[in-house]
């Protein structure tokens, strides 16, 4: 183990990946151009802002909210949102008495077209093992301290159904536009590891 081999595993995986990609190109299973396009799609086109736009629309449009809670993906399609790894979407609503949070204990199922790719912590052994057993403790470590009166609902999304948390719309936001509302909603709100919505630069 010398200093010039500080990350042997990483280097090994990078080289092997290059080998696989070069071979798959050569035998015409795929082209790197197609792979580049998928990379760009996930880096540029999809991300939590997509989900935030869905939530903000539900906040301002009661009819849309009703449709969203009844059939999440159909409502998303109204906004032109859809894609792989989500065949059915259930939106679960936070209330003063209920907090929702999502996990997949068996792999890392996640609504890619709505939230983009999951962060590393969502895929971590710690999150996957602990959230179902001690959700309040995990949430408090992540900054969400819940009174016992608030019911915690953990959604272990191990089937092909995906989940999205709808946070509560904060008070005193009636004057905000839909795009200003979108800016308030983070990925963590929609996974359920954040609850309070901060009004940036405004009195709370």
């Amino acid at each position: 183990m010398g200093h010039n081999h500080a990350h042997p595993k990483k280097a090994w995986q990078a080289i092997r990946t290059e080998a696989i990609e070069s071979l798959l190109n050569e035998i015409n299973v795929l082209s790197s151009d197609d792979v580049d396009q998928v990379v760009r799609h996930y880096e540029e086109n999809v991300g939590p802002r997509t989900g935030a736009s869905v939530i903000a629309r539900a906040w301002v449009d009661p009819g849309f909210k009703k449709r969203l809670l009844a059939d999440g993906l159909a409502a998303c399609e109204e906004l032109g949102i859809g894609g792989p790894e989500t065949e059915l979407l259930h939106v679960v609503e936070n209330t003063p008495a209920v907090h929702n949070v999502v996990v997949c204990t068996l792999c890392s199922c996640y609504p890619w077209p709505i939230l983009g790719l999951p962060p590393a912590w969502y895929k971590s052994s710690a999150y996957r093992s602990r959230l179902v057993r001690e959700p309040r403790k995990v949430l408090s470590e992540l900054g969400v301290v819940l009174a016992d009166e608030i019911e915690v609902r953990v959604w272990d999304s191990v089937s092909e159904i995906r989940y999205l948390v709808m946070p509560e719309r904060p008070d005193n936001t009636e004057h905000l536009s839909e795009s200003e509302l979108i800016d308030l909603i983070s990925r963590d709100h929609m996974i359920g590891v954040a609850r309070t919505i901060e009004l940036n630069g405004q009195e709370n």
């Binding site: 990483k10 092997r16 990946t17 299973v29 059915l88 992540l142 608030i150």
Partner: protein, 230 residues
């Protein structure tokens, strides 16, 4: 199978480490593996349950240490080899040649390679068969028990719910593929998926369960049995 992937309830993994400035992909190779898999997903080479199961077959120590996309690399290589599309020897050799900075690679032997796939050999992706209808056996509000089954192959029954009783919160009455058989090409066995609500005390016991907490989990009909009312 009872593998390391079935993590719900395990102890010992420490705090959840959050990097607030994490990019979409933390390594280039990870982005290539993930996106190559996305492309291959559409080619009819594997189905999604088979791909998940392949990851579960990793040695536990590798599953933990190879990181998320390392698992995907493992699954990709193994299935491509099983399908006779790309074999391990070819990948090993090409890896060595790239590592040695060779300009010219050893030519591949084209004979016998199962590519392109014949139309009839392509396998369908996806899990919801929208043109099919199923009749759900259970209904909302009924109490069900998760069957105490430990199949050695793929299953989406989590260990921490086996044998436990819960209430059917929602019937997802679409025609869902049954992953436990589809992963092994033993049929799609279309059936309803139930969102079952478990009290934390049922799952973890009164002594250690957190108060006022519930786990909702989606289980196939074949994973559940109706509780006898008395």
């Amino acid at each position: 199978m009872n593998g390391i992937h079935d993590m719900g309830g395990l102890h010992g993994f420490g705090p959840v480490a959050v990097d607030p400035d994490e990019p979409v992909f933390t390594s280039r190779w990870g982005s290539r593996i993930f996106c190559m898999t996305q492309v291959i997903d559409s080619l009819g080479i594997w189905n999604l349950d088979e791909h998940r199961h392949e990851i579960e077959l990793m040695a536990p120590e590798d599953y933990i240490s190879h990181t998320y996309y390392g698992r995907w690399m493992f699954a990709m290589e193994r299935i491509l080899e099983r399908r006779n599309i790309l074999n391990r020897e070819e990948v090993d050799r090409r890896t060595e040649e790239i590592a040695a900075d060779r300009r010219k690679f050893t030519p591949l032997q084209p004979a016998g390679r199962n590519w392109p796939l014949a139309e009839g050999d392509k396998v369908p992706w996806g899990a919801w068969r929208k043109n099919e209808v199923v009749e759900p056996e259970f209904s909302e509000g009924q109490w069900v028990r998760v069957r105490n089954i430990h199949p050695p192959g793929h299953t989406r029954v989590t260990n921490y719910t086996r044998g436990k009783a819960g209430e059917v919160f929602r019937v997802n009455d679409q025609a869902w593929v049954f992953p436990d058989t589809r992963a092994h090409y033993r049929g799609e066995n279309l059936q309803a998926v139930y969102t079952v609500r478990f009290d934390a005390q049922t799952l973890w016991g009164e002594e250690y369960a957190e108060p006022n907490s519930y786990v909702y989990i989606d289980l196939s009909e074949n994973h559940l049995e109706l509780m006898q009312e008395d």
